[in-house]
Symmetry: C2
Subunit: 567 residues, 2 copies
């Protein structure tokens, strides 16, 4: 660890107490749930434990829990001093770095609502979100400052130095002075646990992004579930690969503190930085989408990890190839599923002891399923989607547990969003049948496991048969030369639609097929025919250098469909 | 495992669904917290996993999660058929056995309140509790049927056979018939998470026992904390030594199901049965007071356990001797603290990584402290106790973190009781200063750890100095010949009071001191003088064969004081 001295205002007083003011009228036996509780516990119990490292930057910083929690308090006071009132939204535009990690606690300590914005958006997109969210204050990382060029509210810039001279640091220091050293007791605990914790915008491929309101109660319970289901503890170190701006980092900014674990923030997702930390920094946990994981596993730095590492996979189902690669590196996969509307993960594919004996391919097929609601989530069901014209309170009917009948995944309970912000009509539609309607199509297997098939637009209607692009991708990915694959529908004069596969070859296989992509296409089709029904075999195969992806690593089928439309 | 066939009505239908009716008006994003959720999850995800074994009886039984959960449903329907309505109390008098484990879920599924009664009470004591609780229905184990001889409400007897012919089994079977196979959907989920889950009576050494009301929300959150803090998971097996009737078994009946773990019920606490299970049944977790643990460690069956075992210790602080003995056997101790009013455990002595290097004696001194509030508990503080005449809403003031100033432990939050049943005056007193006043005296160490000194009546005022009987016991217990020791005040003409020690010798040491107890007393006093200030050294030492204990293994100092009073 390099030498680093936090700003003087980051050092807590000797007599610090970690108890906030509780409003009158809260009964002795109730503490309104709030994920802020966790970092306060960590600072109280393990003050000198390393909470956050931000190493791979010109100005690295390292905060112990006591110092880091003081900074969180400073941020809360500074926001209040800047005029932020309970319920106000504070926008955050930053890559994974201390400022956004701190905001997940400090904004809540000011009883305000965190509104993280994707750093990869355009200025007009950011303008829309700033306008729609009504954010009163913006904190932006210097690299993304231009995104706030049209902002009509105060903008605070973080230079990501953690040192005197950075405007963000000056802001925190002003908070400490404003606190008059009343400490935590000068701040009030939010009495209503149903208050908003965050306002996260969906990346909505069609139309305007929607603002998802999550609550303090839900964030508290989701964070506990994520810590428990992934077995994080005092000795855990979480590596930030998933952007924190994505659904509040799936509540991991809080889950990490549930466990008193450490965290490492990386501004940029680069395979060699990640492997350096996996091999040398004691990392035990990270979250990432399969595409990111595939890149990691095929990176030249890849080695067997020196301790048990658990990776949380979501975004799409892991393939057998990927699960096998992870296993070979000593990395245990926990497959989870969820959406921004469900605080990120809310189901997990619980592993049955009997699966251990199965061959990898079969095990992977079982593990690729979305499974069951996790610890604190409510129910997740697969139902016949409500039809147009049916009342909003229609009684939803489960599809049979046959592994075949396709329905829609619906969820309800403490890990479902409260509403779409300022959009009662979208909320009403999303909550038909008293559940959150995910829009994800799935089957229910006889063993009760939910397995996603496709979003309805991802189904390929080939010769009157419904072909699942997800299932086709799973089978094509088993070809030894394929690194990554995505399948979409392409119009076909005879069959209506037929699957088209876009393929990235593995580095070592690419030279062999150079100039012979037709031969590869023929081989892949042959491979497909041995594993898939005729209507599901790709009619076209396009070898590409990269696939269009969202900021969270999901393949953008919309972009592929645009390519197909021009063919 | 012996062959056993559950009653036909215990077998769930093929199409079982684990979702209860949710009342109108519960928002999509809220599921009222209720620990019943956990066993339903377990049955859904791991239906064929062994949930409960009851092996050491003439009629052993073994239930998988699917079967066990059906029995829970049957119990709920049978109770409703018997006239039990939401909020009614159902009394339970049973040793650790399936009936009481089932009741912790089945009574809640009927939206009723479980009222477990200590099997070691007398008939008049049971009469008082039945009267005070207003229990509408009693379930009693055949061995304790005589305790209900004066009952004025229906009494259902369990013969603990799990087989046709037992009245309890007939009752469950009637529930299944009454359900009309509507299954879980025919039962309603309690919409108010602040509703009572349990009514547990304190063992109150003075005056009438008080009835502690705990809530569904508190039980849910306490169960999660107990599972998380003790790292229970799918592979865990919990051995029942702590009686389930004591504070609902510290919420472990639910915590076990959080983890999808197995449990083994033992009717009787016997060292050889316990060691048999520790060595041969895959046990990973058990709770027990230090006195029980001391007996276990000194038992001739004691061996090194063949896998990692975690023991949860509470009731009083473990001594260095005991911690050392546990370590030698491969058993990891988690020291927790709480009262019936805090759902059993609500603080734990979190271990600091730096302690690992310390010698056992020093480590034990640190581990013997009560520590910090655990995961879902609110705040635990040490404050100057409110004085008589101060208003109920007096602002409590923390004692300094000096490890010396004695104050009272107070707690508040989701793991504190709701009230004393039908006793607003006792509730008011217990809740002075907006916290539950435990009556336990403690200091706050500079590192923030709470350490119990004594209940105020356990303080020995010797020559004007306050001597802590707990601290004296800790030091005396380090003598190599002592198995167990308890210290109380005895009047002294010159010093006001002086400590008197009651000592049980180790089996191997007893013969050596036979007929020479005076010599042992002299040696122990010498041992004490090397470790304690003069006013804290015992003036008298009495070697005894056993110490008077409560049903939960706590030494009854009241009984020792009675002996002293007659000297």
């Amino acid at each position: 660890m390099q030498s680093f001295t936090p700003t003087p205002e980051s050092i807590p007083p000797a007599n610090v107490k970690y108890t906030l003011q509780l409003p009158e009228g809260v009964p002795v036996h109730v503490q309104p749930l709030n994920p802020l509780a966790f970092v306060l516990r960590a600072a109280q119990i393990y003050p000198k434990k390393l909470a956050l490292s931000h190493p791979d930057v010109p100005y690295p910083v390292y905060y112990n829990y006591d110092v880091w929690t003081q900074r969180i308090q400073n941020l809360a006071y500074a926001l209040i001093e800047a005029g932020i009132r309970p319920g106000d939204r504070v926008a955050l535009i930053a890559p994974n770095s201390p400022v956004i990690a701190e905001a997940h606690h400090g904004v809540l300590a000011a009883r305000a609502v965190i509104c993280p914005i994707n750093t990869r958006l355009t200025v007009p997109e950011v303008d829309y979100i700033l306008e729609h969210s009504g954010a009163k204050f913006i904190i932006v990382d210097h690299e993304y400052a231009k995104l706030t060029q049209n902002a009509k509210v105060p903008v605070l810039v973080s230079n990501d130095t953690g040192r005197v001279g950075c405007p963000y640091e000056a802001f925190l220091s002003s908070g400490r002075r404003f606190s008059q050293e009343k400490g935590w007791a000068g701040l009030q605990w939010e009495s209503n646990e149903d208050s908003a914790a965050a306002l996260c915008y969906t990346s909505g491929t069609t139309g305007r992004p929607k603002g998802v309101i999550t609550t303090l109660r839900g964030s508290y319970l989701a964070a506990i579930a994520n810590a428990y289901e992934t077995r994080m503890d005092l000795n855990s170190v979480y590596l930030w690969i998933l952007p924190m701006f994505h659904a509040c980092g799936w509540t991991y900014p809080w889950a990490i503190t549930v466990a008193f674990a450490g965290q490492i923030t990386l501004r940029t997702v680069s395979n060699n930085l990640i492997w350096n930390h996996l091999l040398n920094s004691g990392v035990t946990h990270y979250c990432a989408a399969p595409t990111v994981q595939i890149g990691l596993m095929s990176s030249p730095e890849a080695r067997v990890v020196p301790r048990k590492v658990t990776t949380i996979i979501a975004g799409s189902a892991p393939t057998a190839q990927l699960l096998g690669d992870l296993e070979k590196k000593g990395i245990k996969a926990v497959h989870v599923y969820g959406l921004t509307e469900t605080y990120g993960p809310s189901t997990t594919c619980y592993v049955q002891p009997t699966w251990a004996k199965l061959p990898l391919d079969e095990r992977a097929r079982l593990l690729a399923r979305q499974g069951f609601s996790f610890l604190t989530a409510g129910s997740a069901r697969v139902v016949y989607p409500p039809k147009d014209g049916e009342p909003d309170n229609v009684e939803l009917v489960d599809v049979p547990k046959d592994g075949k009948t396709v329905g829609e995944i619906v969820m309800r309970g403490n890990i479902a969003m409260k509403e779409y912000f300022k959009d009662p009509e979208a909320t009403r539609k999303a909550f038909r049948g008293g559940h959150f309607n995910t829009g994800d199509l799935a089957v229910m297997h006889p063993d009760g496991y939910i397995a996603i098939q496709d979003r309805s637009k991802d189904i390929i209607i080939s010769g009157g048969e419904n072909a699942s692009s997800v299932a086709i991708e799973q089978e094509l990915a088993s070809h030894p030369d394929i690194l990554e694959v995505s399948v979409v529908a392409r119009p076909h004069p005879k069959w209506g639609e037929r699957p088209m596969a876009f393929v990235i070859l593995k580095t070592q296989a690419a030279p062999r097929w150079k100039g012979r992509h037709d031969a590869f296409a023929a081989e892949l089709k042959k491979h497909a025919r041995s594993r898939l029904p005729g209507f599901a075999c790709p009619e076209w195969v396009s070898v590409v250098d990269e696939l269009p992806k969202t900021s969270t690593g999901k393949i953008q089928k919309v972009a592929l469909r645009k390519i197909v439309a021009k063919l």
